[in-house]
């Protein structure tokens, strides 16, 4: 059933149908009602495809994610989807698997499909990426970044205040009485992790604690890294009393590795994670952590994107969230 069929049924031209369905003021209420009733009765709905070709806009956005299996992306996806659906937009899910070639293929696809905007999480900063981002923006297709932005491209970014989060995490442990706090993180190259580390360093400095460089351990989020970190910590002549990991996965891996070796959490080591993944509450002890509001970040990113889509010249914006410490069982106060 097309607009022509409906026009015939209603005994009007398709122009009138179109105007009526789009609530154009020129069509009197009576005619409008007759047409919409007929449309409902016959289950007529205008083709989005035809609309898109005609209007040059698709009410579709692309969501580029490095790997949906990584447990902080589902929350982002959910938040983006929620706001998109409320605004009658669909989200095209692009999982590029941290693979540059696949990333480029998706960029091309999004271009071919005339998406109205793009949300991009997990940018690596490669040359191809830069090229595509520029190209989209030149064509007036806005891009919002989550977590990390493109170098030299400030704005249209949704993230938490990582420096502040690192500062508060360390301060929290210090206030609990800890003086030797290991910092276990991912690759030093990732800017958000560097900021967390800077915050951690600053907190120690502000409390006149010396930073023991051997307690700063940087690897990745694999369990091998966690095991290595545990070994390094247990090897120290004078051990730390607390561990701040910049990922719940690492924190949990270390916790279980310590338990396996007969150490108790939090009696022997307090552990503080990062992200507040759902699993943190179903382990023993439950994990204290720094919460990232993933779903809300997804929502805000989509809101921002909508604003940019609807108002092309809208100001670049940066949305900054404060991370929140969630205290559970894996951390405890000590008296030194």
């Amino acid at each position: 059933m097309t607009i022509d069929d409906l026009a015939r049924l209603a005994g009007v031209s398709k122009a009138t149908v179109s105007l009526a369905l789009n609530k154009d003021g020129r069509i009197p209420e009576a005619t409008r009602k007759r047409i919409t009733d007929l449309a409902d009765a016959h289950g007529y709905r205008p083709s989005t495809v035809a609309k898109s070709l005609r209007k040059g806009t698709t009410k579709a956005i692309g969501l580029m994610l490095p790997d949906i299996i990584n447990p902080f992306f589902p929350g982002i996806l959910k938040g983006v989807e929620e706001v998109a659906a409320q605004n009658d937009f669909i989200v095209i899910f692009c999982n590029f698997d941290e693979n540059e070639a696949k990333e480029s293929v998706y960029f091309e696809m999004l271009k071919d499909r005339w998406v109205d905007g793009i949300i991009f999480s997990g940018i690596t900063g490669g040359a191809e990426e830069q090229k595509y981002v520029r190209a989209f923006e030149e064509k007036g297709v806005p891009i919002v970044f989550i977590d990390r932005g493109l170098e030299g491209h400030d704005g249209n970014l949704v993230q938490i205040d990582n420096y502040d989060a690192g500062y508060r995490a360390a301060t929290y442990l210090i206030d609990l009485g800890h003086r030797r706090i290991a910092f276990v993180s991912g690759p030093e190259g990732i800017s958000i992790l560097r900021k967390r580390k800077d915050g951690y360093r600053k907190a120690l400095a502000d409390h006149r604690l010396e930073v023991d460089e051997s307690l700063i351990i940087e690897g990745d989020i694999s369990s091998a890294t966690a095991v290595a970190a545990v070994e390094r910590i247990l090897d120290r002549p004078v051990k730390p009393t607390a561990i701040f990991a910049t990922s719940d996965i690492v924190a949990l891996s270390m916790q279980s590795e310590l338990q396996k070796r007969g150490c108790r959490v939090p009696e022997d080591f307090s552990i503080l994670g990062f992200d507040n993944l759902p699993i943190t509450v179903i382990v023993h002890p439950t994990l204290s952590t720094v919460a990232q509001p993933f779903v809300e970040m997804g929502r805000q990113a989509m809101e921002l994107l909508l604003a940019l889509i609807q108002n092309k010249d809208s100001q670049r914006r940066k949305v900054l969230f404060n991370a929140e410490i969630i205290e559970r069982e894996s951390t405890r106060a000590i008296t030194s």
Copy 2:
């Protein structure tokens, strides 16, 4: 840049460009090369929107999921996306939040957008659902179900053999020497859970073990259920030695609750989960579980959908996976 622009540049008609780009045999290699080179040089790519309108097909599929936060859906999404991308299809992500109204809205959207097919996981079986499914199939838009299908609608279904999985899980524990095995599961109404339970019962029967009905505990996947289950088990005058939970989440919740109460796993209780979620390896003890191949299920669902899309009259198919027992640290052999 449109096909007309390119045609002008190449000094041919747009028909020739179209044929060349679509590798039609009638265009000689020389002309074709000239045209594709020109296209590459100018970054020309045909509009998918225009193609869709013309051909009536979109190379887009809808993936309906009840809630992406639930940790077994990311794997499915990933598998679907992987095969879709390989075949130049995009996936429209529809998270209906276990909400019938939102589900209907998405069905309408998918219809308006002329998707070529739908993959549906987490069907509830409501009346609206039935209606939409029939409508799509009548219009020749195939639907593949994951996990559960529609009642009285067999085929186009990808799932694990739940009966067999229940049977093998119980047998595994029995072979380990356990004689009293609690079965902790979700709502009795869900058919896949009922099948797992039937398999469990059959395994006990085959080994001449009596089923203790008080050890069959059905709730949901909340931690409240897990706590209640633990209490019930600890209250028994003669306690079970093993627990088979039909979800890793429940298994992990029970494990941590037991640990909190001073019980040891696996010394006091062996615990077997279900799903093989990524977290099962970063808890202590690591969780033995029945693995569901989520990613592979997603892949197969998409493969099946592609077959149906390409060959409308293709036979309805049912893809059945065998679940696999993954032995880790939470289960142990006992000598009664």
